[in-house]
């Protein structure tokens, strides 16, 4: 059957099960937008392409499916760049479809021509320039396959305008033809045996749970393995939710702002089992003194991550779920009571420093607010964040029990991620409660998407933690730059009026006693809601491992008498 290129695009998307696309039309993708009207795919008109990219990202993280974002050529495509890099750093499967000028104009600096495949080469898993209609079907087939398989990631397909309007025979290929792309899923038995030998000898093992556990749906296998071998589980920022926070073996988050006892457990352990994580500098501190007594087993689907930052004793390349499931029958049951006791000691010491155990002093602390939201939502909401202090407090105090509900920009650290990713997540889980926790700085970066939320009726609750500071930069200036505050003091608009102008119900909260009621009001109000919390201006996130310091050299919150 002959079809136009633009129609083929939608034929492919429908076959890939795409239900929603986040995009923005323009000169070079108008044929695609014209054809769209005949296909059962919902299109969300975003206010800025970066917002569209984050929405597709949030949708993908919450649903486990491939997200799709669209933009036109030139500035439309370049506006996607931050969102593409965000998806790349966190291995999120998103297919980006951009329009390009007609093939015969390429290289001539035509109107709105930009070398998008060139620009996005280092921030995509793979990308394509399509110049003919008959390339579209196989390219999109490959794009979706590459995006979701192996170590997932963003794939960009740049489609020339002539390819959109030309017609050709449409056949959707059964299998992608990719001779150079064969992700490894299973580790050889000999290496599994090497790992088992290390596990047998270990007295102080720790599992480091990363995003890979969630991406490969290995939560069940992780639980079985941890319980069978009585191994405590520390999470990376992105691994939160893969292992229930309330489980006795959970150590919470590790790293720069991780729990002190999680970091101490790692530094004192004799065996590290890294599950789908990549030893980012934010979780290791300086590598010279990282887990010095530990042997290391690294389960990771991307071979280039093996020995990249930390040299490991046994690399197990493969899908985390498959490899851990293969390991479970090979290991014996252990109890590590002495080790768990030692960790409990560190936990007890931490309690006196925890702001949650302090007496109220009449000020609004973000940690308290997050705990309040956690309590009100039963710990079951999908929570998105921007980047900075509020993100770390949310990671620490919104205790995630279930997977795929914690959406945050980890590797890239992208401000402005919270609101759009929450809107995207809503399309994946309309029956779930969704909270976007934002800072006053980050919120202003993508605040225009409030209108998108209204237009779509997206039921997302936005909590702005307003301290009139770029809080994390301020904290660094306080700790490491002799409190010389440089460009961190921020005037904010009246967020309640701003929300009002968008037709979004909003409230400002300044006292702790108003918090509970405000949260309940937001939860009961249908559609998008904004809550602005005027929080303590110069609070700091503790503990903190200074950049370049060892993981156990943490700046701790000063001890105060618990209530």
């Amino acid at each position: 059957m002959k079809k136009k290129g633009a129609e083929i695009v939608w034929e492919c998307l429908v076959r890939e099960g795409v239900e929603v696309v986040f995009g923005y039309p323009g000169g070079a993708n108008m044929p695609i937008y014209d054809a769209m009207l005949n296909y059962p795919v919902h299109h969300v008109l975003v206010r800025h392409e970066q917002g569209g990219a984050h929405m597709a990202d949030g949708y993908a993280r919450a649903s486990g499916k491939v997200g799709v974002a669209m933009a036109t050529s030139g500035p439309g495509a370049t506006n996607l760049v931050t969102g593409i890099a965000t998806a790349m750093m966190d291995s999120v499967p998103v297919v980006f479809i951009t329009g390009q000028v007609a093939a015969h104009l390429i290289g001539g600096d035509a109107f709105q021509e930009t070398d998008v495949t060139g620009i996005t080469l280092p921030i995509t898993k793979h990308n394509y320039l399509v110049t003919r209609a008959d390339e579209i079907a196989e390219t999109l087939r490959e794009a979706f396959y590459i995006a979701r398989s192996g170590r997932p990631g963003p794939v960009l397909v740049d489609i020339c305008k002539n390819a959109q309007v030309e017609s050709c025979e449409f056949v959707y290929p059964d299998e992608p033809k990719l001779p150079g792309y064969q992700p490894v899923t299973r580790s050889p038995k000999a290496l599994l045996d090497d790992a088992v030998a290390l596990i047998e000898q270990a007295h102080k093992p720790v599992i480091l749970c990363g995003h890979g556990v969630l991406m490969s749906h290995a939560e069940e296998a992780l639980m079985q393995f941890a319980v069978k071998t009585q191994t405590p589980v520390a999470s990376t920022l992105l691994g939160l939710g893969a292992f229930p926070a309330s489980h006795p073996l959970s150590l919470g988050m590790m790293g720069m702002h991780g729990e002190a006892y999680a970091n101490l457990a790692i530094q004192n352990s004799d065996l590290i089992l890294a599950f789908g994580m990549r030893f980012d500098d934010r979780v290791t501190g300086t590598l010279k003194t990282y887990a010095p007594k530990a042997k290391k087993i690294h389960i990771e689907i991307d071979p280039s991550e093996i020995h990249k930052n930390v040299f490991v004793d046994v690399p197990l390349v493969g899908d985390v779920n498959t490899v851990v499931s293969d390991l479970i029958p090979l290991v014996d049951e252990y109890d590590h009571d002495d080790w768990l006791q030692e960790i409990q000691g560190w936990k007890n010491e931490t309690d006196s420093r925890d702001i949650m155990n302090w007496e109220e002093d009449g000020k609004l602390y973000v940690a308290h607010l997050i705990a309040d939201i956690w309590k009100a939502t039963g710990g079951n909401a999908i929570v998105t964040t921007d980047v900075g202090q509020h993100q770390m407090w949310t990671a620490q105090y919104y205790q995630m029990e279930k997977p795929n509900r914690w959406l945050t920009s980890g590797g890239a650290g992208t401000m402005g991620f919270g609101l759009p990713s929450a809107i995207g997540a809503w399309f994946a889980a309309k029956d779930q409660e969704i909270w976007a926790i934002a800072g006053d700085g980050g919120f202003q970066m993508t605040a225009a998407e409030l209108t998108t939320a209204v237009q779509e009726g997206a039921n997302v609750k936005v909590a702005i933690m307003n301290n009139n500071f770029l809080g994390m930069v301020r904290q660094w200036q306080e700790f490491f730059f002799e409190k010389r505050y440089s460009a961190v003091n921020m005037l904010t608009p009246d967020f309640v009026k701003l929300a009002d102008a968008h037709g979004v119900p909003a409230r400002r909260v300044t006292k702790r006693e108003e918090v509970e009621e405000a949260i309940e009001w937001a939860r009961k109000t249908q559609g998008p809601v904004v809550l602005e919390f005027r929080v303590e201006q110069e609070d700091a996130v503790y503990p903190m491992v200074p950049a370049g310091a060892a993981l156990h050299e943490m700046i701790r919150r000063p001890v105060k008498l618990a209530k």
Binding site: H126, P179, G180, V184, D302, P303, S304, I306, H307, P315
Partner: protein
């Protein structure tokens, strides 16, 4: 030290750019890169010489990262394998009739050829290993090199030998290629 890799890649537009961009982004220093068609029209072959200050550690990183490129089909490290390596240079030497015989003599020793003769210059074509070409250049330099071009090194393993394929964790054999002790910087 310089390592030599042979990469088989899909013969598609932009693949050279992807490989070059990878080396730039990951901060690897390319000494030479030669690309050409193979017996299979769908496959191009690259010989890449890279400076690897950390030895096998860098070599592993380069291979693993090359495999991340969707268009890369196979990567071998032939640095320590019995192999034939060749580089071709064209060297234009400023020389009149009076010293032509001297250049001719040098060319003969190096099994090079004079491929063009003009009134006051000749072009010497020399093929061989890096060392041999460097040697030839050193001897021609005092006579007067006007212009020079080199293809970059191409390599092929001898007989049934194959290069090392390092993909840690993918098979028992490859895991043993590098001891962990050797990888600690």
């Amino acid at each position: 030290m310089n390592y030599t890799f042979i990469a088989l890649v899909e013969n598609k537009p932009g693949v050279l750019n992807r490989v070059a961009s990878l080396f730039r982004r990951r901060n690897f220093n390319i000494e030479s890169l030669a690309v050409g068609r193979t017996e299979n029209p769908d496959v191009s072959r690259m010989t890449i010489v890279v400076d690897c200050p950390n030895g096998d550690v860098d070599a592993h990183r380069i291979e693993a990262n090359l495999y991340k490129l969707v268009n890369v089909i196979d990567v071998q490290d032939v640095t320590h394998q019995p192999s034939v390596t060749r580089d071709l240079a064209l060297i234009k030497v400023k020389v009149g009739p009076e010293r032509r015989a001297e250049v001719n003599g040098l060319a003969e020793i190096f099994r090079a050829r004079i491929v063009d003769v003009a009134a006051d210059s000749v072009i010497v074509e020399v093929t061989g290993t890096e060392d041999k070409i460097e040697g030839m250049i050193e001897l021609l330099r005092p006579i007067g090199i006007v212009e020079m071009v080199r293809t970059g090194q191409v390599s092929m393993t001898r007989g049934v030998n194959e290069g090392v394929r390092r993909m840690p964790g993918m098979s028992d054999r490859h895991y043993d290629d590098i001891s962990v002790a050797a990888m600690v910087p």
